[in-house]
């Protein structure tokens, strides 16, 4: 298992679970290997023994956001875990455009609720072009820059699969 997190203003912290032998867990943190003994002492309190040193770590977790405040004695860190759900939620709010800036697609299956543009429209940065509903949540997809609508590949009411191209812009 591998995960990405943002810690304070450091993005893309990579953590990978390597293995567990008895009570020792090995993690790879940004290419450094740590083998430590981690135990949960009580809610929000962890004890870590690493190279003979004893650390107490407090965890304050915001259950809905996968955002943590983690405190060692002198330090306090704000950590956001970036997993599939988080990425989806981020995208839902911020909209998505593919890397080339050509295809607007959705990262998850859903139903097209509303198309707000027609071919030939000139749209402004951050303008919403299409709304897709999934799991009772409507997501607005926006363009990241000023764009021209070239092709609309779906219509309102269509069911779409993940990553299906919806609108082509340029």
């Amino acid at each position: 298992m591998k995960i990405e997190m943002n810690i304070d203003n450091v993005n893309d912290y990579n953590i990978e679970f390597i293995n567990k032998t008895d009570n020792l867990i090995t993690y790879k943190v940004n290419n450094k290997l740590y083998t430590s003994d981690i135990v949960k002492v009580s809610e929000g309190l962890y004890s870590i023994i690493l190279d003979g040193k004893s650390y107490n770590v407090e965890v304050y977790r915001d259950k809905t956001k996968k955002a943590f405040v983690i405190k060692t004695y002198m330090h306090s860190f704000n950590i956001d875990i970036i997993d599939t759900e988080t990425k989806y939620l981020t995208n839902r709010v911020k909209g998505i455009e593919d890397e080339g800036g050509i295809v607007i697609s959705t990262p998850m299956p859903g139903k097209v609720v509303k198309i707000l543009v027609k071919v030939g429209d000139k749209v402004k940065e951050d303008q919403t072009v299409i709304i897709v509903e999934a799991m009772k949540m409507q997501s607005e997809y926006k363009v990241k820059k000023d764009r021209l609508i070239k092709e609309i590949k779906v219509k309102e009411g269509d069911t779409v699969v993940a990553d299906q191209p919806l609108i082509i812009v340029e």
Partner: protein
Amino acid sequence: MIKKILIANRGEIAVRIMRTCREMNITTVAVYSEIDRSSMHVRYADEAYCIGSPVASESYLVIDKIIEAAKKSGADAIHPGYGFLSENAAFSERCKKEGIIFIGPDAYAITTMGDKITARKTMIAAGVSVVPGTTESIVDEDKALEIVKEIGVPVMIKASAGGGGKGMRLVKRIEDVIPSLRAAKSEAKAAFGNDAVYIEKYIASPHHIEFQILADKHGTVVHLFERECSVQRRHQKVIEESPSCLLTPEVRYKMGAAAVAAAKAVNYHSAGTIEFIVDDNLNYYFLEMNTRLQVEHPVTERVVGVDLVKEQINIANNLPLSFKQEDLMQSGHSIQCRIYAEDTDKNFMPCPGTIQHVREPHGFGVRIDGYVFEGFEIPLYYDPLIAKLIVWGKTREETISRMRRALYEYKITGIKTSIKFLARIMDNPVFISGNYNTHFIENNKNELFAKIEQDELHMDIAAMVAFFDYHTTFKKQEICTKKCLEMNEWKAYGRSAGMNRL
């Protein structure tokens, strides 16, 4: 003898007073605003009455409601704590009229000491030295100028009804006297509805040192030595200690005698505090008297060994003091740190919120007067003080080491607190030297507010723990899902069973 006391307060001080009541077999009555229903003082008390909405002016400050609760519960006496109605002469008077013992001084002492100009005059008459300056409210601007020239700049212009720095002006040049006077007057008028101001000599390197006194109703007044309160931020005390590093035995003796004289001058009874301003040359001047228990009273309790609340209650019971001045001595050293719910990096902005986890320090020489607990939501309506950490040691050096250890052990999650900031003061060489004055925090702000560099190892450890916690939580939620499904089956059963039975 008092059998039941209503505590007209909340938070740590209400609990602290109730502790002593319990030790004296006195029944306690709490009053609480709606938001304080789960608060510690309500649960600690034997009885509890709701007195209104969270806004203090509609509950804790309403004399009628407090009196009503006292009557309903049959309380013999009311302890006002500090803040709220504790220095309200009308409240003291009202209690008397209602036949309820007010655990504190008479209205006369409160009124006299409550107005700064009157207090100055009374002290001068009693032979207690005050900061050189005017004894009357300034009406004539020319006369004001003359006085300033006489005592010499810099001077302070202060509101007679003042407090918290309002209506206060530091004047460094003669030409600024008149404009500052006018500004101070209008500010005082706006803040207190009273534009009376007076002028005092400004002490450049001031130490705030106060003397605790106890006075019974039979004319005996003793002092319980000093508290050094010069670690302040915007006139708010942050750390207090006893004894003061500054005082010599001779000055301590003289100031103690002055404090006793000050209390006698207003026929004081109960516990009170005489605040002095002391300059580097050990000249001391009466500043004001607090006619109530102070937030910092525990350092005196620890060093002198006297329970001040117990003495207040005994005095209210008309008992004579059980000790004489010569029975009292300072033993060892004590420091108090005030733990606030505040963000010390963001200009000490109050940070109310819900306490997630608390671990309090313990062991030799450590006392905590607090009131928060896990799951408690600190209301935003009141003072953000959550606890006082009081430490004792044989020497000042041992006390500082112990305070550092206790602050290390003190863990509060869920909200921001001043604990780290206090730990930095304990590590500060100027504080450690003992040679500091009220400018300490301002003068040492670079060290006290320096950013901590994030350490890579600790960041990696935090990352691993976040990962571990995230992982474990997911496993838990799966178990929860299973349980819920079982629950649903039960509910289905309940419904069908019910149907069949109708």
